[in-house]
Symmetry: C2
Subunit: 193 residues, 2 copies
């Protein structure tokens, strides 16, 4: 198997952290391939990273589906059966990442004259809304799950692209949790670059 | 349980079709609640529809997670164990819906002076890329699965918001499949309005 993606993508990082946590890092090659590359598009018509290419030539995406597949193959514990509250938290983290990427597109990729404050406000509001919600239930993020990996990579992306956001302000629980989770080898080995 | 959302959302329609296909339509109330409503935001910090509110007060989102939950609760067959190719097709359809929504935001919600042709082209390319990929494997969409529901609602949304797209041109297999799937009571009972 091989994982296609860019080291700057939080979705890709989620999968790299998952591989490391499941002990699969040595059996799945990480291939740097941006969303616009022919290699990526050939296996993902949605033209997004990451994509996982299986040994039979089939592919999987997006990150939440790749993570479920890898967890099943490894007999992992990232998605305990019936723990739907964890799934809700994973979706919550995913919503923050989605908003962060749209904000990045708006404030970086889009030509300046076409940027719209209304869109920036909407995405920023979503990010802060998720941060507040997760601060309120940070105690549930204890185990290494799909939700914890999602939230950690989401926060790591904020530090990477929005260093001035100050997301730690007023959210001491989340800040402390992230500090601990970030020390894991899986996170250290997948830093954005 | 109750499902919160707007009748114009393809993600909401996916869940409504799922409820009908699983025979749960009578046991889950559909509550019209736009993404900006207090009722929705209270159960989904990501501020997106749909959200499913469980009997214990907890919530679930987004549509793919709601569909998995409902399928598990009903003992349904929308997600056969180990059928990862179906999951890939579901993700493919989801990518088309995501791009369609971003295109709708760009060409309708965003003030005209801030619209960017580059973004419109990128999202349009994704939509056509998915349509072509699904045309090539339309024969695999036979059963009622998460992938089939996703693709049907994605195509229904194109007809709803982008009636001039002409997605059927050059894609006779997909057009025929959609015609058949659209005749299902679940689709007829959840038309966009």
């Amino acid at each position: 198997m091989k994982l296609l993606g860019s080291p700057t993508s939080p979705y890709v990082r989620k999968c790299r952290v998952t591989l490391a946590e499941l002990g699969l890092a040595d059996s799945v090659a990480f291939v740097v391939a941006p969303p616009t590359s022919d290699e990526l598009i050939a296996v993902n018509p949605v033209m997004k990273v990451p994509a996982l290419v299986l040994d039979n030539g089939d592919s999987l995406f997006d990150s939440r589906m790749i993570m479920r597949y890898l967890n099943e193959k490894a007999g992992g514990k990232l998605y305990p059966a019936g723990d739907w509250a964890m799934v809700r938290r994973e979706s919550t983290a995913e919503g923050m990442i989605d908003a962060s990427l749209l904000l990045r597109m708006e404030t970086f990729a889009r030509p300046e004259q076409f940027r719209w404050d209304g869109w920036i406000e909407t995405q920023s509001k979503k990010i802060n809304s998720v941060l507040d919600a997760m601060e309120a239930e940070v105690g549930t993020l204890g185990n290494v799950t799909g939700a914890a990996i999602g939230m950690a990579c989401g926060l790591g992306y904020l530090d990477f692209r929005f260093a001035d956001w100050g997301w730690r302000n007023g959210r001491p629980g989340l800040a402390k949790w992230f500090e601990g989770f970030s020390a894991r080898a899986s996170m250290q080995g997948s830093k954005h670059e």
